[in-house]
């Protein structure tokens, strides 16, 4: 489905953010991309969807291919038409529009009224909460509802590949579970998913493959069960001590220890 090869991204012609990363999202699979703040996860997303230009970013090396076609320099609207949809970090709903109008704005690329109706019905069955509040102004929805709306808006484009950027951000634990179930549900309908997350536990339990980024480089990748068992992932992403018990703030200094994969 999606293949990113040796991607290098520079902001403002000087700041090297991605130093040659490669990701592959196979057809119909969920791939998780993990990493701390500033690792370059969102930059990767922008490069894939074509939104680097307004952030003064440039792809200086490497290639992004969708189903074998090089899309590295295509306009964002063209990529959406090819089937790449995204749910941006922080929900970013059109706050002044109603729920319905948000969904219709999401369906902009689709001129076929009956197809739009089908997507709309699908979103409404998937998120009954949105059906209840379809005339409400999106800005007044709760955080969880806004996240559902943002996902629903992306689904209106009938994507082949859905990229979600930290969908669990700022949500209560049971809502994170709900978002996780929604992602699994979407994936089961044949949509490939690239899930960008900080919540490693949530992401790795549903992913078919996991990547871990740091400072613009891939430092690890592999089977999620293998990653979940990895000592470093446990310590730095899941917050467990090497012996399995939870850390206390007294041991915070411990974080200064060099990570094994950097040595």
């Amino acid at each position: 489905m999606l293949a990113v090869e040796n991607l290098e991204v520079v902001y403002n012609d000087v700041v090297l953010v991605l130093r040659g990363i490669s990701i592959e999202v196979p057809d119909g699979k969920i791939v998780a991309l993990l990493g701390a703040n500033g690792a370059g996860k969102t930059t990767t997303l922008r490069a894939i969807t074509g939104l680097l230009d307004i952030h003064e970013g440039d792809v200086t090396k490497g290639e992004i291919r969708l189903e074998g076609v090089d899309i590295t320099d295509e306009l964002p609207s063209k990529r959406v038409r090819r089937g790449i949809s995204q749910v941006m970090e922080g929900r970013r709903v059109f706050a002044e529009l109603t729920v319905d109008d948000n969904l219709r704005a999401g369906a902009y690329i689709n001129r076929n009224a009956s197809k739009v109706k089908a997507s709309y019905d699908r979103v409404m069955t998937m998120f009954p909460r949105l059906a209840e509040r379809k005339t409400a102004t999106a800005g007044y929805l709760s955080g969880g509802e806004q996240q559902m709306l943002a996902i629903g808006r992306a689904l209106m484009q009938d994507p082949k590949l859905l990229i979600l950027d930290e969908p669990s951000l700022g949500l209560a634990p049971f809502l994170v579970q709900e978002v996780r179930d929604v992602i699994v549900d979407i994936n089961s309908q044949g949509v490939s998913v690239l899930l960008i997350e900080q919540n490693a536990n949530m992401a790795l339990t549903i992913a078919d493959h996991g990547y871990i980024m740091e400072n613009g480089k891939m430092v690890m990748d592999g089977d999620p069960t293998k990653l979940l068992k990895d000592e470093d992932v446990k310590e730095f992403y899941l917050g467990y001590h090497t012996t399995g018990e939870q850390k206390s703030f007294r041991d915070v200094k411990h974080y200064k220890r060099r990570k094994r994969w950097l040595s």
Binding site: T49, G50, L51, I54, L75, P76, S77, V80, R81, Q86, M88, R92, F94, A95, E96, L97, D101, N102, R104, A105, G106, Y108, I109, R111, T137, G139, Y140, R153, Q157
Partner: protein, 341 residues
């Protein structure tokens, strides 16, 4: 029907009604302000840009209409024998298309490079556009007033006329209680049609995309919306609205009508209407436009005593605007900033 008006008419003691004239003037002024406000609101709603060039665009549009209708007479010169009103309407359509193209060209040249810049900076750019367009237009217009060539002329609909009965077309010498110029009737119909059209447009696919773009350009692009195309559309519609506003200014009530170097400045008098209604509301543009129009007309008719003099009507719009803003800082129908508590 035993209305007093009829009896008056039969007895031939018709007195022209000051109130009636005030209402007709108010409608006419209101239509001008509402259409100008509408064009301004569309550009603001779609691009978040305060378009200070709107006055200049309206003068330019009015001059284009005058050019097509009277100066070069296109397409009338090739259609001799066809009805005058048809020739005129076609000229107006030609001029509006040209105005839309110029609006899109201005957007492409001056505003597209400003996408993503601070809105304040973009507003200043529109001030520059205003100066350029106004100077060039005024140069073309020259010192004279260019007639719009409208087919309505001085014809009026009279209500309660001396010998025309209760309602009917009245000639110039006839005495009537109220006279409604055909231009005012035309303005009203066109205003209603345009308002309905714009309201429907904002519910359409492109209209929703436009509102989405106004809220968040980056997210709009992420939905596959071409922000550039949306901006071009907004400026095309804005320029057409400005041109129609300019047409209204040049037809009535500024008799003898015509577009001159004052038209661009007259359009600035719609600003109180825009701010009163709230910058981003179509309903606000209409209500604000007519409220200001009536206030100005009423003040010009009744508030003329003592030190106030005859020019006080021009001040009233600003007084109304200030009073409303004291109570509703977002204007009558402006969108309040969305804040979740």
């Amino acid at each position: 029907m035993t209305s007093g008006l009829l009896i008056l008419a039969q007895e031939s003691t018709v007195v022209p009604s000051e109130f009636g004239r005030m209402v007709v003037n108010g409608i006419s002024l209101g239509a001008i302000y509402a259409i100008l406000a509408l064009g301004f609101v569309i550009i603001f709603k779609a691009t978040q840009v305060l378009n200070f060039a709107h006055g200049a665009l309206s003068a330019m549009g009015a001059f284009l209409i005058a050019s097509f209708a009277t100066i070069i007479n296109v397409p009338g010169r090739w259609m001799e024998g066809s009805p005058v009103w048809l020739q005129w309407v076609l000229s107006v359509v030609f001029a509006l298309v040209l105005a839309a193209l110029i609006g899109m060209a201005l957007e492409r040249m001056f505003l597209r490079p400003m996408i993503g810049e601070a809105l304040f900076a973009v507003a200043i750019v529109t001030l520059g556009i205003d100066i350029i367009v106004r100077t060039i237009t005024n140069d073309f217009i020259g010192q004279t007033s260019r007639p719009m060539g409208d087919p309505f002329g001085l014809k009026t609909v009279g209500l309660g006329c001396a010998n025309g009965g209760f309602i009917g077309e009245a000639d110039l010498v006839e005495l009537c209680t109220v006279r409604i110029p055909w231009t005012t009737v035309f303005q009203m119909i066109l205003t209603i049609a345009l308002v309905a059209g714009v309201a429907m447009f904002f519910r359409s696919r492109t209209g929703i995309a436009m509102r989405a773009t106004a809220w968040d350009q980056e997210v709009a692009r992420a939905q596959g919306i071409s922000v550039g195309r949306i901006f071009a559309t907004a400026w095309a519609i804005g320029a057409v609205m400005a041109a129609i506003g300019g047409l209204f200014i040049s037809m009535f009530p500024r008799r003898p009508g015509g577009v001159d170097t004052f038209t661009a400045f007259f359009a600035f008098r719609a600003f109180p209407a825009i701010i009163l209604g709230g910058l981003d509301s179509i309903l606000g543009a209409i209500v604000g436009g007519f409220a200001i129009g009536f206030a100005e007309s009423a003040a010009s008719t009744y508030l003329t005593f003592g030190f106030l003099g005859t020019g006080f009507g021009g001040v009233v719009p600003y007084i109304v605007m200030l009073l409303v803003l004291l109570i509703r800082p977002y204007g009558l129908f402006g969108t309040e900033e969305i804040r979740r508590v």
